[in-house]
Symmetry: C2
Subunit: 264 residues, 2 copies
């Protein structure tokens, strides 16, 4: 596709037609819902805000987009690297995708700010480091986070909604993609994979049927020929080890149980 070069005339014409009252200054940020599994529980990365607004509240990691210097995906990857302190190599094992954009008129009390939210699936990562305008950064268990219970950390802006949307996207993605493996080490067992599904879907799955199903989907996992060092935490034989396969979509998909309810 050919693209005409920028000409000063164009920009001048554009700026002349630009009415600041109709199009006031707007800021663009990326915010990232980074999900990981720690001790078998789903965690999300949060930072404590050191400055107003929402000072002292917890928020998603993120920052302003360097307009014109980076693509949105690059901005998200940059913020992710900055907030987690991950090397470029470790980042390659993290799945990152765009979740959606949020632009309610007064979601930021200072000025119009539109946030492009991203969703990341990561294996167990080291503790994050605080930095920039964050007082602290911490992995936070997802359970109860969006329920509004008394123990909840108060979330800034509309980040509770963004997290809820990210969790729903994650639940759906496990159905038809092999991305559950992104939460695990490069080599993993089928019971470990099942634990990821059970934690994110919030439901116990049948061990035998799950095992057979995973192995029957072409390209989901491939055997390493090895077995785990130890058996299950409470006994049982040592499980076989697998790597992620080359499939990008699961056929047939692993469907969540129950979904008859809540469909209407």
């Amino acid at each position: 596709m050919s693209r005409p070069p920028a000409r000063p005339d164009d920009e001048a014409a554009f700026l002349a037609a630009y009415d600041p009252r109709e199009f006031p200054a707007i800021a663009l940020t990326v915010d990232i819902v980074v999900l990981t599994m720690r001790q078998g529980r789903l965690n999300v990365l949060l930072v404590e805000r050191a400055a107003p607004p929402f000072q002292g509240c917890w928020a998603l990691p993120g920052g302003f987009v360097k307009a014109g210097q980076e693509d949105l995906d690059e901005a998200a990857a940059r913020e992710l690297a900055e907030e987690t302190g991950l090397s470029a190599g470790a980042l390659r094992r993290v799945h990152l995708e765009q979740l959606g954009s949020y632009g309610a008129p007064r979601r930021d009390p200072r000025m119009p700010v539109v946030s492009v939210a991203y969703l990341a699936f990561a294996p167990d990562l080291p503790d994050p480091r605080a930095g920039g305008d964050a007082a602290r950064a911490a992995w936070t268990p997802v359970v109860g986070l969006h329920g509004g219970g008394t123990g909840d950390r108060q979330l800034a802006f509309d980040h509770a909604q963004i997290i809820a949307d990210g969790l729903e996207r994650a639940r759906a993605k496990l159905e038809y993609t092999p991305l559950a493996t992104a939460f695990l080490a490069p080599e993993f067992t089928v019971p470990e994979l099942r634990a990821v599904y059970e934690e994110i879907w919030g439901e116990k799955l049948h061990p035998g049927n799950f095992h057979r199903k995973v192995l029957s989907v072409p390209g989901f996992v491939e055997s390493t020929g090895e077995t785990a060092e130890r058996g299950g935490s409470r006994g049982g034989p040592r499980a076989r080890l697998y790597r992620a396969g080359d499939a990008r979509l699961l056929h047939p998909a692993l469907l969540r149980p129950d979904r008859e309810e809540g469909v209407r």
Copy 2:
């Protein structure tokens, strides 16, 4: 969720920390992929640009977001109404959802512009009206549009990619939602519904199996008790009429045939 009111201090502090070189001015637009069925073919709404850049090229309808005055969804609905000339009532029958955001560094040669793309499914609509910076507006058959063939209209910016992403989203949505009915009149026949699937998926479906499948999915369609005025265009009995049901998701889903290929 409590939200502190905007305080002048906050804004001043923010602007003081704002480095224009690091965060140059950025503009935000919404662009809409409006899909409809006309004479049995899938069409997308395009406008011809009357001003540089890409003067004379065709582009998606859209415009600048009125920052701080409207949500992104509202901006998309407003642009859709402006470009199609639809009444508020007619707009209620149009499905509108966010598709994704596009922010490659020099996608607009004038200045950094991030576009929040939306996807709309509409029944057969009247001819659009041109307006604003559009010389013309026209429904354009989708076939061959993204193939880069000789007959293609040259598309501005990255709109060819946005349309391709919208089409892929549409294909997926037909699988697990009843949104194919959004392309049809309030009352429709099963063969008409099948024609929508065949056109968007680009595959012929088995008439008998499709018919039984649609009626077996709870809440997909509900009978009106009436039958169509005429039989098929080339003969056959008159089909029964249905309305869209109350399901928001299809269970079980209507899966596309073939997908074994291209999965890896």
